[in-house]
């Protein structure tokens, strides 16, 4: 059982209008590595939960980033309650596979026999993309009102902290790829079903998390394009994360640069830190403008948090700013 955190609903309400994306049943939070996907996925979960939606945040790589945010609660392949209305699960592909095969075969002994066979283990380990497919299968299962697993809890909203888009769209494209590999048969129809889920705009949303730097901006624009043209997914939101505050005007920055030249020690260091931040904040604004020109989805900004490690309270602060 996870540790509970107090849920200061009042603090969240009325700060920013709730993103309409959270009215869908399933939201994928995607983007390249190191952009803050997990924090934003958890923040979206906190936000939805505070609005009274029964929400589950799914971690799909085995790294348990979400549990790291939740004070290192061990999440694992169980639906763990984090707060009122908020659950988390870390989807392990091997466990998903066991569950999936059992749902198909219905007989535990038969499943266990299959898992003991060499041919099955070989195929399961060697087939590229199979892990991703069964992971998406488990996400589909979680999003069902009529859960397939025994005594499955019903969720209003499933939020997926999707794996980092290494090269483009891999993860979300998996069902489509499998549907093409298996032309007919059960895998084909199930892969198609998963593909329909991913591309069902009415029920499934996608958010991309970006950073205000050259490469992440390019990759975000490319990702939005590929999601649309190759997977058939339109993006609901792009969150530009980690924006520095604009603390100084250009004129002030110039004065501070002058001060740094003529001073030593802490004054020089402080003035230089100010000038550096001013430069970065400006270059970030330029990247933000560039992103807005290059994408179709609405871009929302989130502030850089000057905190050593991002925890649940950081996610809560972000949650209040989500629009």
């Amino acid at each position: 059982m996870g540790r509970r955190f107090s849920c200061p609903k009042a603090k969240l309400l009325g700060i920013a209008p709730i993103p309409e994306m959270l009215d869908k049943r399933l939201v994928f939070v995607t983007g390249k590595g190191g952009v803050g996907k997990t924090t934003i996925a958890v923040a979206l979960g906190l936000r939805a939960a505070s609005e009274g939606k029964r929400t589950i945040v799914c971690e799909v790589s085995a790294q348990e980033n979400a549990s790291r945010i939740f004070d290192h609660t061990q999440v694992g392949f169980h639906e763990v309650e984090m707060e009122e209305n908020l659950w988390a699960i870390s989807i392990d592909p091997d466990e998903s596979m066991r569950e999936y095969v059992l749902l198909q075969l219905k007989v535990r002994a038969m499943r266990d026999m299959l898992f003991r066979s060499r041919i099955f283990n070989y195929l399961a380990a060697a087939t590229p993309g199979l892990k991703e497919l069964v992971t998406i299968g488990k996400i589909w299962e979680l999003a069902q009102l009529d859960r397939k697993v025994k005594q499955g809890r019903k969720y209003d909203l499933v939020i997926v902290d999707a794996p980092a888009t290494g090269h483009g769209i891999g993860f979300l494209q998996t069902p489509r790829t499998f549907a093409a590999i298996a032309r007919v048969g059960p895998i084909h129809s199930q892969a198609q079903q998963l593909d329909r889920l991913i591309t069902d705009e009415a029920h499934t949303g996608t958010a991309i998390v970006a950073l205000p730097e050259e490469m992440p901006v390019n990759e975000t624009a490319a990702l939005e394009h590929d999601l649309r043209s190759e997977v058939g997914v339109s993006v609901d939101r792009i969150y530009m994360n980690g924006l520095y505050p604009q603390r100084f005007s250009n004129e002030e920055a110039e004065r501070l640069a002058g001060l740094a030249e003529g001073e030593n020690g802490a004054i020089r260091a402080a003035a230089r830190a100010a000038v550096s931040e001013h430069d970065r904040a400006r270059s970030q604004r330029a990247q933000l403008a560039r992103l807005r020109r290059r994408v179709e989805a609405p871009v929302r900004t989130l502030p850089f948090l000057f905190e050593p490690e991002l925890g649940v309270e950081s996610a809560r602060r972000i949650a209040a700013r989500l629009a």
Binding site: Q63, S117, A125, G166, H167, T174, V184, G185, R268, A269
Partner: protein, 387 residues
């Protein structure tokens, strides 16, 4: 603290590994540039460089072949290029197709594989093939022996293990040995394997459908003449990765999570007996101790207000400085933990520069840190600390 130049002394191959978003591509380009400037013939194999970086290196029209970067580009930035810098962008599908063409016993087998639907999917769309093809291309270039040093920018993987495991997973799949044995229902092997296997296969057919099994069989048949070639090659690729003239550099950021991943990656490299060279930590805010010491005994807000004649502005400068120091302290603590975990001094820090790095000037700037001697490093640290 060693410099990248010391670490790569006498090496043929440098593999930059790490999770996504830590500046791996830029670091790879900077290392290749630095080594080429020192007189080597270097080729950097990159995956997806930022457009401006690609443009500034003249790489925008690059295909799957190495191309020399025009040396005059470096002269414009005051960098004397004693050696040669070559670069290529990896095209996983083209590399895979080339490999098939090379391994196929005849044209017919080659076309059967290239035309196979399952092959087309795994060679372009599915995870793992890119990692494997990166290593394959590395092996090919190394065998050709045209370069003194190859620098590989690895594809971004979800975790370190995926990268190291990809060749094994993919070759196993192509081998399809156990499956091909079971596919022949009347074969001797199936009889030897016994009834259990036959039952497993029938259960499997029920789950995945007969057609997929049949398609897989066709795929494995198409590959059958090449399996041994692939296996032999994979073995040689693995041997090359473990060679003492190969060097893995782990690239990470200074936050808790990337540092955890670097520690994990280092452990996996050691377990796999692969040659670890060091860790490069990018975007470091530093040095905290020095800043803190300088602030001691000084009423910074008043001193700043007096100099600036503006209390409000002074307040914001102090606030900004405190935020910066908090990050610098975090970075220092994480890097200390990293150094402790690695039990080595192979941790190279690159500061968080004011500008994004996406051109030759930026690469040159990064190289001041990557290639600095201990003495130069101290001078640079002093410069950054404002002293």
């Amino acid at each position: 603290m060693p410099s990248v130049g010391d670490i790569l002394e006498g090496k043929d191959i440098c593999i930059c590994a790490g999770s996504g978003g830590v500046g791996k591509t830029t670091t790879s380009a900077a290392i290749a540039t630095g080594m080429a400037a020192r007189g080597l013939r270097v080729c950097v194999l990159t995956i997806d460089p930022a457009k401006r970086l690609a443009d500034s290196l003249g790489l925008e029209q690059l295909g799957n072949e190495a191309k020399r970067v025009d040396p005059s580009m470096f002269e414009a930035h005051g960098l004397e290029m004693e050696g040669e810098l070559w670069a290529m962008m990896l095209d996983a599908k083209a590399t895979f197709d080339d490999l098939v063409a090379r391994q196929a016993p005849d044209e017919e087998s080659r076309d059967r594989v290239l035309g196979n639907r399952i092959y087309q999917q795994i060679s372009s769309a599915l995870a793992g093939s890119q990692e494997y093809m990166a290593m394959e291309k590395l092996f090919e270039l190394h065998t050709e022996g045209r370069f003194d040093l190859l620098v590989l920018d690895t594809p971004p993987t979800r975790n370190a293990l995926d990268f190291l495991d990809a060749p094994r997973r993919l070759t196993q799949f192509i081998e399809g040995r156990s499956l091909r044995v079971f596919m022949r229902p009347t074969g001797l092997a199936a009889r030897v394997a016994g009834r259990g296997a036959a039952v497993a296969l029938s259960v499997l057919k029920r789950i995945v459908g007969f057609d997929l099994i049949a398609d897989l069989a066709e795929f494995f048949n198409a590959f059958s003449g090449m399996v041994e070639g692939f296996q032999a090659r994979a073995k040689r690729v693995n041997k090359l990765l473990a060679d003492r003239r190969t060097c893995f550099l782990v690239v990470c950021g200074p936050q808790g999570e990337p540092v955890d991943e670097a520690v994990y990656f280092h452990r996996k490299l050691v377990e796999a007996k692969l040659p670890f060279g060091g860790v490069i930590v990018n975007k470091v805010h530093y040095p905290a101790e020095r800043l803190r010491r300088q602030a001691d005994g000084l009423d910074l807000p008043s001193a700043l207000a007096a100099r600036l004649g503006d209390e409000d502005l002074a307040g914001r400068v102090v606030e900004n400085f405190a935020d910066y120091q908090a990050l610098a302290e975090r970075d220092a603590a994480n890097i200390e933990r990293l150094a402790r975990e690695l039990r080595s001094k192979g941790v190279i820090r690159v500061p968080y520069l004011d500008e994004d790095v996406h051109d030759i000037a930026g690469l040159t700037e990064i190289n001041r840190y990557l290639f600095a001697s201990s003495e130069e490093r101290r001078a640079l640290a002093a410069e950054l600390g404002g002293g």
